[in-house]
């Protein structure tokens, strides 16, 4: 273990221990915050229930589907906008202000249009996630070295062949960066939609635990979700490091 990792682990342990002590000494109300040990126990209890596991699976499935669709749509839209600079210039204010919108407020409309189930949640997740892939693709295509464009010309590659064989591989780092962000955005949108109105999913479970005053369960489920997002991000970081892309 590197000294930096060791320092971080010690800091984390100290934080958890002090939180445990504060809660055990009743310096905060048990309805506000429960000790970390109780959170872990509540998480373990929740994660052996088939219904909770199904909810977690539903959330993971919705996020995965959102990211997969967003990756395809985002890359395609990025290529299109890069090819049409005037359209890109006109769309810039929309792209810049896109993430200011609580798009999950449109969830009820999507339920009516797409029906009850995972489809409106996946659609909301895709809406949120696609923009970061688009931005990543645009940034990547902007930084394709001039020599690569010359090589494509010298070999008289068609637009599609040049894209598939040269441009997309050369900006894979930026696209992967966009997809990494897309995972976070998809989580945000999916969980927010589940919080709002969805009949299932881990977000719905957390909201239900909160409204029914099952605070220990709420914290247990939150801990599970935080660990899940951290694991997903760590895996993505490792993938980026493996293929030689900076981790952050």
């Amino acid at each position: 273990m590197t000294p930096r990792r060791g320092r971080r682990l010690i800091a984390l342990l100290l934080f958890v221990a002090s939180l445990e002590a504060v809660c055990r000494a009743h310096l905060v109300r048990p309805t506000d915050l429960v000790p970390p040990s109780v959170m872990v126990r509540a998480m373990a209890t929740a994660l052996v229930e088939p219904a909770t596991l199904y909810d977690l699976w539903q959330t993971v499935r919705s996020v995965s589907a959102s990211v997969a669709i967003a990756a395809l749509v985002g890359v395609a839209a990025g290529i299109l906008l890069h090819a049409l600079p005037r359209l890109r210039g006109a769309c810039e204010p929309f792209i810049a202000s896109y993430y200011a919108l609580p798009l999950f407020a449109l969830y009820p409309l999507l339920v009516v249009v797409l029906g009850v189930g995972t489809l409106p949640i996946v659609f909301t997740g895709t809406l949120y996630a696609a923009m970061s892939v688009l931005i990543g693709t645009l940034s990547g295509l902007d930084h394709v070295p001039r020599v690569f464009r010359k090589v494509a010309k010298v070999h008289r590659l068609g637009a599609l062949k040049a894209l598939a064989g040269i441009y997309i591989p050369s900006c894979s780092a930026e696209i992967l960066g966009g997809i990494t962000l897309a995972v976070s955005y998809a989580f945000v949108a999916v969980i927010a939609s589940e919080f709002l109105l969805a009949p299932s999913g881990i977000g719905h479970e957390i909201a239900e635990a909160y409204t029914s005053f099952r605070i220990e369960r709420m914290y247990g489920l939150m801990l599970a979700l935080v660990i899940l997002t951290m694991v997903v991000n760590a895996v993505l970081r490792q993938v980026r490091v493996r293929i030689g892309v900076p981790a952050a």
Binding site: A100, V188, A192
Partner: protein
């Protein structure tokens, strides 16, 4: 030939028109009750603006947003300078902030609600959670990637630390500061609205949440369009400002 900025504005207007057309077609196909069209939505905005209750909600959101934006920008710039200037602090703080950016913050609302209660403090905190971390990361990165030649020139000219900060450092990182302000502008608004949806009894976010409950599509579309207009106008101004700074930069 048309000036570039006029052409850009015309192009943006054309994109708006195309989007409005698609929206109108979707509204015709789905029905005006389910998806109110652009004209209906504009009329609804007019009606809402005349309502005292909406004015109160608008004022509440504007107030919380202004406070959150100022704190997020000032705090983000300050922390960014610390993280960028002192590598050891940056190494410890930045991974935590990156993890926070990647966490779906909306799930933290029960905790924030428990600690801050219903009201302005909760939604301002939500705004900070969304808006502050990206500013820190961008600013720290800007300081860390400052071209070494700037320091060398300052050293060879014997500039004091204050003069270096005032005449070299601040102008050099201003474009990144404006870029981070643009990110902060959008994300803080989202944070405040999310805070209002879950942890407030006033504001546009709360109005949206209440409209979702009553399936009032006209209000949902009107508030969403209003927010998009505000965010789009703000972002456009900041983009134009950033471009001007980019041109002015050495």
């Amino acid at each position: 030939m048309m000036p570039k900025n006029v052409q850009r504005a015309l192009d943006a207007a054309l994109v708006c028109l195309a989007l409005a057309l698609v929206w109108q077609i979707a509204s015709c196909r789905l029905g005006g009750d389910l998806l109110p069209g652009p004209w209906q939505t504009l009329q609804k905005i007019g009606e809402l603006i005349a309502e005292p209750r909406f004015q109160r909600d608008l004022a509440a959101t504007a107030n919380a947003y202004a406070i959150a934006l100022v704190i997020a920008m000032a705090g983000g710039l300050g922390l960014g300078v610390i993280c960028g200037g002192w590598k050891r602090i940056g190494d410890e703080v930045e991974p935590l902030l990156l993890a926070l950016i990647a966490t779906p913050k909306v799930m933290l609302y029960p905790i924030i609600l428990l600690f801050f209660g219903l009201g302005d403090a909760a939604k301002i905190f939500f705004g900070l959670l969304h808006g502050l971390p990206p500013v820190v990361i961008v600013m720290a990165n800007a300081l860390r990637t400052l071209r070494p030649i700037y320091r060398k020139v300052a050293q060879s000219m014997g500039l004091s630390r204050a003069s270096f900060a005032l005449h070299v450092l601040i102008p050099a990182v201003t474009p990144e500061a404006v870029a981070s302000l643009r990110i902060c502008f959008a994300l803080t608004l989202l944070g405040v609205l999310v805070g209002e949806m879950f942890a407030s009894t006033r504001g546009l976010g709360h109005l949206l949440f209440a409209s979702i409950g009553t399936n009032d599509q006209a209000t949902i579309m009107a508030v969403t369009l209003l927010l998009f207009g505000f965010a789009g106008a703000g972002s456009s101004l900041l983009i134009a400002f950033g471009r001007r700074l980019g041109k002015a930069a050495p």
